[in-house]
C-alpha cells in the first residue's frame, strides 16, 4: 500500500467525523456535565442558584421519604408496564408473524405506525375514553349498565400503566418481531415432525429463541417508561408524580433547578446502570442464540 493512500485513510475518517464530534462534545457532553455540576449547587427562594459545591440536594433526596416513594412509584410503573407489554406484545408478534403476506404487512403498519404519532395525541385518546364522568367509554359502559360509577383511570397508577403500555407496545412487538425473523421458517415443522404438539413447540422451541427479543424489548420499554414524561403528566397530573414530572416541576414551577438536576442525574445514572447491566446479562445468558 502506498504511503499517500495510507495517510489519507488515517486522516480522512477524522476529518469527516470532526464536525459531528465537535457538535456532540460542545452541545451534548458539556451540557450533561453542567447538569451534574448543577446538582451540587445551592438554591434558595430569594438568592436563586449559588455556584458552590454542597451535597444538600443529594442529602435531601436520600433522607426525605417523599423522593424514595416517588422513585419507587416510577420504577413500579415501569416494571408493570414492561410486564404488560411483554405478556401481550410477544404473543401478538407471534400471531402477526404467522399471518399471510398482505395481512401481515397491514397489521404491522397498524401496530407499529403509532410509534411515530405524537405521544400527546395518543395519551389524549385515553383521557377522552376514561376521563371521569365525561369519558366516552365510561359513559357508554354506564349507559349499558355494566358499571355504576366511572372506572377510576385518570390520576391512578393503573391508568398510567395502561396508557404507557399502549404507548410502548410497538417497541415490544417490534423487538419480538425481529427475533422471530431470525427463526428458521422450517423450525416448527422440524419440531412437529419429531412429534411435538403446538404447546410443546411454543414452550420448548419458540419461547427460548425469542426470549432475547422479549428481554431486549423489555429493556427498551422499561427505560422509556421510567423516564416517560407526557403520559404520566397527562394521566397522573400534579397528584401522581414520577421522576420526570417531578424534575419538570422543580425546573419550571418551583424553580429549584439544582434539586431538579439531582433528580434527573439520579434517574439517568439508575437507568444507565440497569440498562447496561441487564444488556450484559442477556448477552452472557443467550450467547448461543445470538451470533
Amino acid at each position: 500500500m502506498s504511503s499517500v493512500a495510507e495517510e489519507r485513510s488515517i486522516r480522512a475518517p477524522w476529518a469527516l467525523t470532526a464536525p459531528a464530534l465537535m457538535l456532540f462534545v460542545g452541545v451534548l457532553l458539556i451540557p450533561l456535565a453542567m447538569t451534574v455540576m448543577l446538582s451540587f449547587h445551592d438554591w434558595g427562594q430569594y438568592k436563586g442558584i449559588e455556584p458552590v459545591f454542597i451535597l444538600k440536594n443529594w442529602q435531601e433526596i436520600a433522607t426525605d421519604p417523599y423522593y424514595a416513594e416517588m422513585f419507587w412509584r416510577t420504577f413500579r410503573i415501569a416494571i408493570l408496564t414492561t410486564l404488560l407489554t411483554a405478556l401481550l406484545g410477544a404473543p401478538e408478534a407471534y400471531i402477526l408473524n404467522r399471518m399471510s403476506g398482505r395481512w401481515k404487512s397491514f397489521f404491522l403498519l397498524v401496530i407499529l405506525g403509532p410509534l411515530l404519532i405524537s405521544v400527546v395525541a395518543r395519551t389524549l385518546g385515553w383521557a377522552l375514553l376514561f376521563g371521569g364522568n365525561n369519558g366516552l367509554a365510561n359513559k357508554l359502559l354506564m349507559s349499558l349498565g355494566v358499571i355504576r360509577s366511572p372506572i377510576p383511570f385518570m390520576f391512578t397508577e393503573t391508568g398510567m400503566v395502561v396508557a404507557l403500555a399502549h404507548v410502548m407496545m410497538p417497541f415490544m412487538v417490534l423487538s419480538v418481531w425481529a427475533a422471530l425473523q431470525r427463526l428458521d421458517p422450517q423450525i416448527e415443522n422440524a419440531a412437529m415432525s419429531l412429534g411435538a404438539g403446538p404447546v410443546t413447540i411454543i414452550r420448548r422451541i419458540i419461547m427460548p429463541q425469542i426470549m432475547p427479543g422479549v428481554l431486549s424489548g423489555a429493556i427498551i420499554v422499561f427505560s422509556l417508561s421510567a423516564s416517560a414524561f407526557a403520559t404520566p403528566a397527562i394521566i397522573g397530573g400534579r397528584r401522581l408524580k414520577v421522576a420526570a414530572t417531578l424534575a419538570y416541576d422543580e425546573f419550571l414551577n418551583t424553580l429549584n433547578w439544582p434539586l431538579g438536576a439531582a433528580v434527573a442525574t439520579l434517574l439517568l445514572a439508575a437507568l444507565v446502570l440497569i440498562v447496561v447491566g441487564s444488556n450484559a446479562m442477556i448477552e452472557r445468558r443467550y450467547a448461543e442464540v445470538f451470533r
Binding site: D184, P185, Q186, I187, N189, A190, A191, M192, S193, L194, G195, A196, G197, T200, R204, I205, P208, Q209, E288, V289, R291
Partner: protein
C-alpha cells in the same frame, strides 16, 4: 404392497397447479430421488408426504393406511430440512434427544440412543456443542442423526447437501448412502443435482413443472430417457434431427451422411439422442468439423459443427492422438447407444 404410495396426488396454490397427477410406489428400504429443476414441485411433494401441506387431490398411503388423515406430529417420518432447522438453543445431544423425549423414551435409553446416533454420523464427542458452533457439514450430520434416531418409517431429505461445498458434498453422499444401506430405512431425497441423484438412488423420479417425466433406475433414465426433457436434464446430450427413409429397403434412419437401419414403428421426422461419450471418430458417419478442443484431464471435450448442427463429443484420454481444431471428422455411434423419439429435434 408398496411401502409408501402416492396415488395421483395434486397440489394447487390458488389457481396455480404446482404438482399434478403424481403417482409413485416406493418399496421398503428403497432409496428414491426426486430430481428436477428449481420450482418443479419437489419440495411441495415432499411436504405433502410430511404432512406440512395437504394435497388438493389424490391419496398418500403408508403400509396401506391413509397418511393424510394423520397429524404430521404422529406420522413418524424423519425429515432433514434444506436449512437443517436445528434448534439453535439446544446442544447437538439435546437436538437429537428431542424426538425421543416427545415419544417419552426413558431417560437412560434416550441417552444411549442419542450417543449411538451421533456416533453413527461420526459426531461422537460433539454432544455438548451448540449448532452455531458447528460447521455446515457437522450441522447436517446432527440433522440426519436427529431424523434417524426416532427410527422413522420413511426418511425425507430436502436438498440436504446443497449448502455444502463440492468436496464435502461428495463425502456426505457416500456416507449417506452407507448409513441408509446399513439401517435400511426407506428414503426419499429431493435434489436438483443429477450426479447426486445418480450416485445415491435405486430409482430416480425426474420431474418437470409439477409432473413426473420418468421413473427409473439411474442407468435407465440416463441411457433411455423417456423425453427430450429428461435427456437434456441428465447430463449433456446431442439431439440430431433425422428422418426415416421408407423408400430404401429395408427402411433406413438418416441424419446427414450418417445412416442406420430404421427402428420399427416410426416414420417422418424423428430425433436421435446420443450421449457425447458414446460418439466416436470414424471413417464414415455424420460429417463434422472440430470447432474447439478442450483438455479436461481424464478426458477431451470437442465442440463440433456437424451437418445436423452443433455436437459435443467426449473422448477418454487414453494417450492416443486426438483430432486438432479445424480438422474434419466423421461422427459415428452404435445403434444401441442412441434413443430415437418421434417428432423433430427442438
Amino acid at each position: 404392497m408398496a411401502h409408501l404410495e402416492l396415488d395421483r396426488v395434486a397440489k394447487q396454490f390458488g389457481a396455480q397447479t404446482v404438482v399434478d397427477d403424481f403417482s409413485l410406489a416406493v418399496g421398503k428400504g428403497e432409496f428414491i430421488s426426486f430430481l428436477g429443476p428449481s420450482g418443479c414441485g419437489k419440495t411441495t411433494t415432499l411436504q405433502m408426504i410430511a404432512g406440512f401441506l395437504d394435497p388438493t387431490r389424490g391419496a398418500i398411503r403408508l403400509e396401506g393406511k391413509d397418511l393424510t388423515a394423520i397429524h404430521p406430529a404422529r406420522r413418524g417420518l424423519g425429515i432433514v430440512f434444506q436449512s437443517y432447522a436445528l434448534f439453535p438453543h439446544m446442544t447437538a445431544a439435546e437436538n437429537v434427544a428431542f424426538g425421543l423425549e416427545m415419544r417419552s423414551v426413558p431417560r437412560s435409553e434416550r441417552a444411549e440412543r442419542v450417543r449411538a446416533a451421533l456416533a453413527m454420523v461420526g459426531l461422537a464427542g460433539y454432544e455438548q456443542r451448540h449448532p452455531r458452533r458447528m460447521s455446515g457439514g457437522q450441522q447436517q450430520r446432527v440433522a440426519l442423526a436427529r431424523a434417524l434416531v426416532i427410527k422413522p418409517s420413511v426418511l425425507l431429505l430436502d436438498e440436504p447437501l446443497s449448502n455444502l461445498d463440492a468436496k464435502l458434498r461428495e463425502e456426505m453422499q457416500i456416507e449417506l448412502r452407507q448409513i441408509q444401506r446399513t439401517i435400511g430405512t426407506t428414503t426419499i431425497l429431493v435434489t436438483h443435482d443429477q450426479n447426486e441423484a445418480m450416485s445415491l438412488s435405486d430409482r430416480i423420479v425426474v420431474m418437470s413443472q409439477g409432473r413426473i417425466e420418468q421413473i427409473g433406475t439411474p442407468q435407465d433414465t440416463y441411457e433411455r430417457p423417456a423425453s427430450a426433457f429428461v435427456s437434456q436434464f441428465l447430463g449433456k446430450t446431442n439431439d440430431f434431427a433425422a428422418t426415416i427413409d421408407r423408400t430404401a429397403m429395408p427402411a433406413r434412419l438418416v441424419a446427414g451422411s450418417w445412416s442406420a437401419p430404421a427402428p420399427a414403428g416410426l416414420s417422418g421426422p424423428v430425433t436421435v439422442s446420443i450421449r457425447p461419450e458414446r460418439i466416436g471418430f470414424g471413417d464414415a458417419g455424420l460429417g463434422a468439423k472440430i470447432v474447439t478442443r478442450i483438455f479436461q484431464g481424464n478426458h477431451w471435450l470437442f465442440q463440433c459443427a456437424s451437418e445436423c448442427g452443433p455436437a459435443i463429443v467426449i473422448r477418454q484420454n487414453d494417450g492416443q492422438a486426438q483430432p486438432a481444431e479445424g480438422e474434419g471428422v466423421r461422427l459415428a455411434w452404435r445403434a444401441e447407444d442412441m434413443s430415437v423419439r418421434g417428432g423433430a429435434a427442438s
